[in-house]
């Protein structure tokens, strides 16, 4: 196994993991505290990407695009919360799944109406377009490293927010007993709206950062949404720490699996079979991993509620 390739793929896995963490942190909080399954979380990721692409077009600056897209996505999230999600708190999970599924259909079509059916692309910001030499002969894209750094910063900021601020304390209290927090006179409705907006912003950030790397198109949110759910389920619903650990694990397993499994199978199976079985197994790997975790720990690795 080529150590350079392993390092590069490992970093790619880390980068995917960080993006999954941004998605998962919001989703797990929303689920853990508000007890809402929100399938439209992937749509917020998509909207973040689309908005950023437009802002970049208008201002010519990637940085501005990021700074504008984040609050814009958060705003979209708040509107969605006020109009729909708010009415789902008291409902069972099936209702939430269906209603947010309807939202997905809506948003997927909306972006096609507003931005057209063709895939969009974002240019890499000039300042971050280069490569970094991590070790002699090992070059890694600067932008991807930036994603990892931004993700770590957000993780730290989230940690500080949750553990050191009053708002964070309310969030943690809400996670273990939301009725009590309500009884204390805290405006639960406002807390939830803010929380949803925060989750939307993080999803938007993930989308914005994905913009230059992936193609921006309708339906791009769903594959990452499903991966995000796998992450939360593995990490334990309601747990940010679980989300981080699981996100990194999933990112690494998926990336390294896709890179190394096909050639590995190539050594064991005839080439025709290997060329199909390899990618097939690699795509399935994450789900096999999840099934495995759930077999031993049906509540995930770090369930937030004892």
């Amino acid at each position: 196994m080529d150590p350079t390739l392993l390092l590069v793929q490992g970093l790619n896995g880390l980068q995917l993991g960080i993006m999954l963490f941004l998605m998962a942190a919001g989703l797990t909080l929303i689920f853990g505290i508000m007890n809402v399954v929100n399938l439209a979380h992937g749509s917020l990721y998509m909207i973040g990407a689309y908005l950023a692409s437009s802002f970049q077009e208008w201002t010519g600056s990637f940085l501005l695009a990021v700074l504008l897209a984040l609050p814009a996505t958060a705003l979209v999230g708040v509107v969605v919360e006020l109009v729909t999600i708010r009415r789902l708190y008291a409902r069972d999970h099936l209702d939430q799944v269906l209603a947010t599924f309807g939202l997905i259909l809506f948003f997927n079509e909306l972006v096609r109406v507003v931005w057209g059916k063709a895939a969009r692309y974002m240019a890499l910001p000039a300042a971050l377009a280069g490569h970094v030499e991590l070790a002699p002969g090992v070059r890694y894209p600067l932008f991807r490293l930036t994603i990892v750094s931004v993700g770590i910063l957000v993780a730290v900021a989230l940690y500080v927010l949750i553990t050191r601020t009053r708002a964070g304390m309310l969030i943690r209290a809400g996670a273990s007993n939301r009725t009590m927090v309500g009884a204390l006179g805290i405006d639960i409705a406002r807390l939830f709206t803010l929380l949803f907006g925060l989750g939307a912003a993080m999803a938007g950030l993930a989308g914005v950062m994905a913009g230059p790397i992936l193609s921006i198109e309708s339906g791009m949110g769903e594959p990452i949404l499903i991966l995000t759910f796998v992450v939360i389920v593995i990490g334990g619903i309601g747990s940010i720490r679980g989300a981080l650990v699981a996100a990194l694990l999933v990112g690494l397993v998926d990336t390294i699996g896709r890179a190394f499994l096909p050639p590995l199978l190539g050594t064991m199976l005839p080439p025709q079979a290997a060329s199909q079985a390899g990618p097939a197994l690699a795509s399935m790997l994450i789900y096999i991993f999840m099934a495995g975790v759930l077999a031993f720990r049906p509540e995930g690795l770090f369930p937030a509620r004892g």
């Binding site: 009415r87 269906l98 499903i226 199909q276 097939a280 999840m290």
Partner: protein
């Protein structure tokens, strides 16, 4: 709605469906034959999901996977020269049953949202499996080489024959489900949905019963897949895409869970609505999405709820 009126309404619906091929011949277009034939196949899929969802309380978000198993079993067998329906169809149903057995055995150990996610994940696995099978078309899929052959018995190539076959199977399986949910087995499944703790306390090993229900549902959906692949003459992983699973869920909810005919009503309403909307605008999802949301927020008992008497069933 009074029971007699309800029975009449349903009878009318069946009569309408039976008359469609005649109407198609009169109007000299296969369009309605195709439309209602396709809707009936999805109604069958919804019927099967309702067994575990509406009656069993198991929210499976991966039901379309079994459609795919049915589709691909027939497709793969046909690709390799096995065209006999007498071999393909039982093989497809059996395979669906086995897949459901494996998925169910693992998934049913979880509950709540974990169950929803794990069934979704398994469906995704099968979807990706389909996508990666390049020999059978991969992402794009492939045309079905030859429709299932039944010797001189049945010619699926004749649209009217096929249509009546689908209608016949749909009605027959409705009756089967009807008997199933009122049988001892059905009561256990429904009891487990209503109060699993109490069921266990009374001595029922609920896991076993749920698994059987899961397998039955998967098998029936596999049959729907068999019909589907012959109907559209195409093999594609798109049938297993998770949005398909979502749509089947919507059909069941729209039609009314916990009622035998509900899902069929839901399938008709949903697909007809989709058909009508898409004829007006290509952006029909823009309307359908919010409709689903509104439906969830306000239409709890579904269409069948409108038809059913107050105390249900």
């Amino acid at each position: 709605m009074e029971a007699r009126f309800r029975a009449l309404a349903l009878l009318g619906a069946v009569a309408f469906l039976a008359a469609v091929p005649l109407g198609a011949r009169l109007l000299d277009t296969p369009f309605y034959l195709t439309l209602f034939g396709r809707i009936m196949i999805w109604a069958l899929a919804a019927l099967s999901l309702n067994l575990i969802l509406g009656f069993g309380g198991m929210v499976s978000f991966g039901h379309a996977a079994y459609l795919g198993v049915g589709v691909y079993t027939v497709g793969i067998l046909s690709y390799h020269g096995v065209h006999s329906g007498f071999v393909q169809w039982p093989a497809a149903i059996l395979t669906s049953a086995l897949v459901a057995l494996v998925i169910g055995a693992i998934s049913l150990r979880t509950s709540g949202v974990y169950f929803i996610m794990i069934t979704l994940a398994f469906a995704q696995m099968l979807y990706f499996l389909g996508v990666s099978l390049k020999t059978y078309g991969g992402d794009d899929g492939m045309t079905l080489p030859v429709q299932s052959q039944f010797g001189g018995l049945l010619d699926l190539g004749d649209a009217t024959t096929f249509y009546y076959l689908v209608l016949g199977l749909l009605l027959a399986l409705h009756y089967v489900i009807h008997r199933l949910v009122h049988s001892r087995f059905g009561l256990v499944i429904r009891g487990a949905r209503s109060n699993e703790r109490r069921m266990r306390a009374v001595g029922f090993p609920t896991f076993r019963y749920r698994l059987v229900a899961f397998v039955v549902a998967g098998s029936i959906c596999g049959l729907a897949g068999v019909l589907l692949v012959n109907f559209v003459k195409y093999v594609s992983p798109a049938f297993m895409h998770w949005t398909r699973s979502g749509e089947i869920l919507v059909m069941v909810i729209l039609g009314g869970m916990g009622s035998v005919v509900g899902p069929a009503l839901g399938a008709f309403a949903f697909l007809l609505l989709e058909e009508v909307l898409s004829s007006y605008t290509e952006h029909w999802a823009l309307i359908l999405g919010p409709v689903i949301v509104l439906l969830v927020l306000w239409g709890k008992r579904g269409l069948a709820g409108l038809l059913a008497p107050r105390d249900g069933t």
